[in-house]
Every structure is written in C-alpha cells, then in structure tokens.
C-alpha cells in the first residue's frame, strides 16, 4: 500500500489488518486492482460530491433512514422487555445488502469500470447488485451455485428482470463458497474493466473495511434513533452473522459504547456436533480463504468444509476478519441457534408483530427468545432485522408441511 493511502485513511486497520486477521491473500494478478480499489475508495469516501450522490441514493432510492420500530407485543411475549427492530427489511429490494451495493457500484462507475460481477448465495446480494447496476447503467453478471439457483428461483428471475445475467456454478459444493471462487476467477480474467462487488465484510483488503463502512449507516441511524426514544444507549444489540455485514453495520455504531452488549448469532444448522452448520466463530479455527485470514470451517489439513443452514444467507464457511478479532478480544459475544430454533423465531415475530423476517434475521430473534427469561424487566434490546422473509416463505411452508406429516 502507498503511504498516501495510509495518510488518507489514518484509522485503525488502514493496512487491512484486524489483529492477526484480514490481509490480502490473492493471486498477484489481482494485487494491482486491489491497490487501485483501495486508493479509489479512500479518496471517494471523503469526496463531497461522491458522498452527496450516495446520500441521495440512500434516501430516495433505498428508502433510508429505515425505522427503528418498538415491537411491543414481542416485548410482552418475552416477559416485559423492550425490543426495538431496525427495519432493514423495509429497504428497496428487502434487505440491508442494498446499502453496500449502491455504494460499490457508484464507486466502480467513478473508477471507470464498465462491468460489474457479484456472487450470491440466497440471491439477496445478487438482487441488490443487479438493482444497483441497473440504476447506474452498468452490465452485471452474478455467479450463483447451481443448488442455490434452484432453491432461490424467484431471486434468479428478479436478477434477470433487472438485466443481469445469472451464471450457475457447478464446481465444488455448488453453493456460495464456490460462487465466490468462480467470481474471483472471473475477476482475475477481466480485472481491467470489471469491478467485483463482494457482498459481505469478507474477502481481501479493502473489502472488509469498505463493506463495513457502507453498512455503517445502519449503526449510525440506530444510535441516534434509540437515543431519541429511550434517552440512552440500549443494553443489548443482536444481529445474525453469516459473513457478517449486517452485524458489522449495526455493531459499528456501538463498538465504542462499552456498556452496550453486542451479540452475533451464527447458524447452528442441524447442531454444532454435526457437520451441518455454519457456526464459523463458535467452533471454527483461523485460516485463509477467499483472500482473507479469519475463522473458518476446515479440516485438520486446511481443506474448507461445506456449511449448512436453513437460512441460505448464513451458509458460508468463513466470516469477516473484524468479527474474528472481536471474538478474540471478547468485544462481541458470538453464539449459535439451530434451524429449529430459527424457525420458532420466524413464527414468533410473524405472529406477535405481523412481520415476517428473513430466516437469517430470525436467528437473532430466536436467540433473544432463548435468553429473554434471564433478562430483567425493561431491558432494552435492539435487533437488526436485516431482511424480510418473502424469499423464504415457500421453504418454510415446505418444512412445516413435512413436520405435519411426520
């Protein structure tokens, strides 16, 4: 990295490190592009014109600020605590992913890139990228594991409607991990005219910082909103963690508020003692995947394991490097709830509030339900409701039907 960039950033992790995590483990072909991206990002981040344009898009197109809604019936049902939902589910395209994609695509356009690529698991990030690319008139191709294109057929169609081309990936596990591999290979090949929009706080520097910054709007809004309502900081903030972008977004507003307890909820899938979960921070170990050092699900030889969750957006065997650091420092507590519990959370929020959460976000609700009996009456809790559940309705209907028949 150049010294000018260091000066420009002047903030922790300017070199892309979060303690021992982060860094830039990529083929040499990509190194110049990552340096160019870093340079451009730290420049435009402070550029008044860029900031103005992004702010306008976030307000008028994405629909920000999103409400912070007090879920009173849920609070009562959980024994008299105060629960606030940060309504990222109400953004355009229905999840927090859009905060990042409009930022990155706008940046790519300023950098003179003509083509956008992305990976997607559940399809939410793919839809958000296709949407941003359509908004800004850039061509867009999205890599998606073959299995996911089947599980999330509606999102494939949404991407195609927005003019993107969806490329099914047949290598490896045919899910998100391999979609990222394929997107990286595309980028290695077309790096001169292409920007790769990574959808989470993962990947090589500067992605973990850049994606966190674009998502930090969630934390900033929440902080000022909760202050207005209860006159102080909340006691607890809870978010689900796959790669960890929505969690990083909301936590970033509270990391320096030491009294606020931060909890990241991973997917325990079919159980932490099985091979079918995505609880990277809870039971994984440090290693290098997709350009960054972080906790991973891997075997003793360093081969990456497949991940599982009923929530496709949590289905990733890695996690952001900053989360990895927060695990080690203890600033954030990482826990996991399994598929069954997540489905209970899904039902609970739907029934008490008429809000159908994404299965990913349902993990955060489920964890709150789990700890509610231990919380004092009046405890204030913020949940980042990272997405809405429309995409999951048919999956859940299928599961409930199978249960009935059992």
């Amino acid at each position: 990295m150049t010294t000018t960039t260091k000066k420009r950033c002047g903030k922790k992790a300017a070199d892309g490190r979060f303690g021992p995590y982060g860094g830039r483990f990529v083929p040499e072909t990509l190194m110049p592009a990552l340096m160019e991206l870093e340079e451009a990002y730290f420049f435009y981040k402070k550029d008044p014109e860029f900031k103005k344009e992004l702010a306008a898009i976030l307000k008028d197109y994405v629909g920000r600020p999103t409400p912070l809604y007090e879920a009173k019936r849920l609070g009562e049902a959980l024994g008299g605590i105060r629960v606030f939902l940060k309504r990222e589910d109400l953004t355009h395209t229905g999840a927090h992913k859009i905060n990042n994609t409009v930022g990155q695509v706008l940046l790519a356009k300023r950098m003179g890139k003509t083509r956008i690529i992305a990976e997607t698991g559940a399809g939410q990030h793919g839809v958000a990228t296709a949407t941003a690319a359509a908004l800004m008139g850039l061509s867009c191709e999205v890599y998606m594991g073959r299995k996911d294109t089947v599980r999330q057929a509606m999102n494939v169609f949404r991407m195609e409607l927005s003019g993107a081309r969806v490329i099914p990936v047949d290598s490896g596990t045919k899910t998100l991990k391999d979609a990222i591999n394929e997107a990286l290979r595309d980028w290695v090949t077309n790096v001169r005219n292409t920007h790769y929009v990574i959808g989470s706080v993962v990947g090589p520097h500067p992605y973990p910082i850049m994606v966190r910054d674009f998502q930090s709007v969630i934390g900033k809004e929440t902080k000022s909103q909760i202050k207005k309502v209860i006159g102080k900081m909340p006691d607890i903030v809870i978010a689900c963690v796959g790669g960890g972008s929505n969690a990083m977004g909301i936590f970033s507003g509270f990391v320096n508020e030491e009294a606020v307890k931060l909890i990241g909820v991973e997917a325990a899938g079919k159980g932490l003692d099985t091979d079918f979960h995505s609880a990277t921070l809870c039971v994984g170990s440090p290693g290098v995947l997709h350009g960054t050092m972080s906790y991973l699900l891997q075997d003793k030889w360093g081969q990456i394991k497949g991940a599982h969750s009923v929530a496709p957006g949590l289905d990733y065997p890695g996690v952001g490097p900053e989360h990895s650091m927060f695990k080690d420092t203890g600033r954030v507590k990482y826990v996991a709830v399994d598929d069954e519990e997540a489905l209970e959370g899904f039902k609970l929020l739907s029934q008490t509030e008429g809000i159908i959460p994404a299965l990913e976000s349902a993990h955060a609700v489920a964890y709150l339900k789990k700890i509610a009996p231990e919380l004092k009456k009046g405890t204030s809790v913020v949940i980042n409701l990272s997405g809405r559940g429309d995409k999951d309705v048919s999956t859940v209907a299928q599961i409930f039907k199978e249960k009935k028949n059992e």
Binding site: T29, R185, V288, W301
Partner: protein
C-alpha cells in the same frame, strides 16, 4: 524451529544439492545447453498416488528440468476447470499435504534427482505449520514452493522460514503487475520468477497474448533470477516460440488434459487406462523436442 532440523538441512543440502541450489543448477544446465528449462506440472494424487509416483519418474526421464507438483486444495481460485478437476480427483482420493511430502520422499528413494517445487495455496501450508512444513520439505527432498495466493506483502514469515531452510520461494508476476512492482517481486523471488503469461486463470489456450514476448523481455530485464513462463502454454509450437526468450517454460493444464482423458470416475475411486503414463511421456517428449 528445533535445533535438530538445522543439522538435517545442512547435511541434506551438502549431500545432494537440494533446495535453491538444485533449482539454480537446473537453470544453469539448461542455459549451458542453450535452451529453456522445461517445467511440467502435475497434481499429486491425480488419478492416484501410485500413478503420481510413476508420472514423476517418467517426467524426469522424458527431460523435465524441474517438476511442479500440485498440492490439492478445495478452493483453487487461480485455477481453471482442468486443474480444478484434477485437484478434486486428488481430494476425492483423500490426498493430504502429508501424502504429497511422502510422495516426494518415495521418488527420491527411487533415485529421482530432478528438483521438485510444490505448488498450491496458502491455507494447507498454514494449517500444517509453516516451520514444520519447511522442515519436512527439506527432510523428504522437496526444493521450493509456489504459493498462488501468497503475494509478496503477505509472505514475510514464509520467506523467512523458506530462507533459513534453503528452500526456493518462487513468486509470481502477472501482466497486470507494473514493472516497478515486478522488479521488487523479482528481487524477493528465489530459484526463479514465475511470469503468468495471461491475465487470467490456469488453462490451456490456443492463442497466447500478442505482447507476451515483449512483456517477458521487460520482466527478464529487471529480474536477478531466471524467469519461467506459464499459464496457457499447451502446444509444441507455443513452446518453440517462447523458448527463444524464457529461461523456463511451464506446462500444466495441457498435461492434466492428457491424464484426464485416461481416467473414468467410478463410485469409489477412478478407473485408469493403463497407457496413461506412456501417453503422458510421449506428450512431454514432443514438448521437450520443441525447446
């Protein structure tokens, strides 16, 4: 980090000129014979570990100056479909980094002296333990590494460990690398420098980039170590064209394709055509002739 291995290292290098010295010698010999060094690649354990052993001996016989031996990884982002499939076959066979090291030991026991460079990705080496891996490489008689996702900025620790063990640490330079950076990388590279011929992933190509020869000349001009060129080279004609400029020529996917043609996937393991080793040897001989 134990004191013991340093002793093994010294003895080993003196006995048989391994590590950086072995690679240097290979390039010197090729230069004296006024030709490029020929560097074929295969994945350890594809289609199985016994055939890999035969293949290494055959490559050596057919005139390989250095052999690149792939350490399979689950997520090879720098590789095209051919080498991905090759890694997958090896992983399906349960091949671990330990097996790869044992394979090197076996071919050394059978008298193969050709330098062997392990090529792969960082995580398996990291999980093995950097020092332990380097010590073990020295012990079995491997000579160096090419780690595709370990750019110079991340390589401090591995460079230090490779260096105290006398192992070559070969960096890559790509067409996207500015020449000032290429110089910086070349100066840190030991054994040789790997010039990636195309902006892209590994895989045989019918045509190489137009300006490859010129780009290669520029990189050679700033490199204190020999420059090998690889990615996409698949035919005797391409080898011939490059042999006038490159110090070394690396062929991977084109060889793997020959292997792949002789392999049929079964429920358990792979069925292998008995002509495999002979046919690979034939193909290698054609490439060597073109140099």
């Amino acid at each position: 980090m134990s004191e013991g291995f340093a002793v093994i290292k010294d003895k080993d290098i003196k006995a048989s000129s391994r590590g950086i010295d072995a690679i240097k010698d290979a390039f010197t010999k090729a230069k004296e014979e006024k030709r490029s060094a020929f560097i074929p690649f295969i994945t350890a354990g594809d289609p199985n570990i016994l055939i890999s052993e035969e293949l290494i001996l055959a490559l050596s016989d057919a005139g390989a100056d250095i052999i690149e031996l792939g350490v399979p990884f689950s997520d090879p982002v720098a590789d095209g479909p051919t080498i991905q499939a090759s890694s997958q076959r090896a992983l399906k066979n349960g091949i671990t980094p330990e097996d790869v090291l044992t394979l090197v030991r076996k071919v050394r026991e059978k008298g193969c002296m050709t330098p062997i460079v392990l090529m792969g990705y960082y995580n398996p080496v990291l999980q093995y333990g950097l020092s332990r891996f380097a010590e073990k490489m020295v012990e079995v008689g491997a000579d160096g590494t090419i780690i595709a996702d370990l750019p110079i900025e991340e390589a401090h620790e591995w460079r230090r460990i490779a260096s105290i063990n006398g192992l070559a640490n070969i960096f890559l330079v790509a067409p996207t690398t500015p020449i000032s950076r290429a110089r910086f990388i070349a100066e840190a590279s030991t054994g040789f420098l790997y010039y990636v011929s195309v902006t892209g992933i590994t895989g045989a190509r019918t045509e190489l980039p137009e300006h490859l020869q010129e780009a290669l000349r520029q990189v050679k001009a700033v490199s204190p170590v020999p420059v090998g060129v690889g990615f996409g080279i698949s035919t005797p004609e391409q080898v011939k064209m490059l042999s006038r400029i490159a110090d070394g020529i690396i062929v991977g996917s084109a060889i793997i394709r020959v292997i792949q043609r002789h392999v049929t996937e079964k429920d358990i393991g792979f069925e292998v055509n008995p002509n495999l080793v002979e046919d690979v040897k034939k193909f290698i001989s054609e490439l060597v002739k073109a140099i």
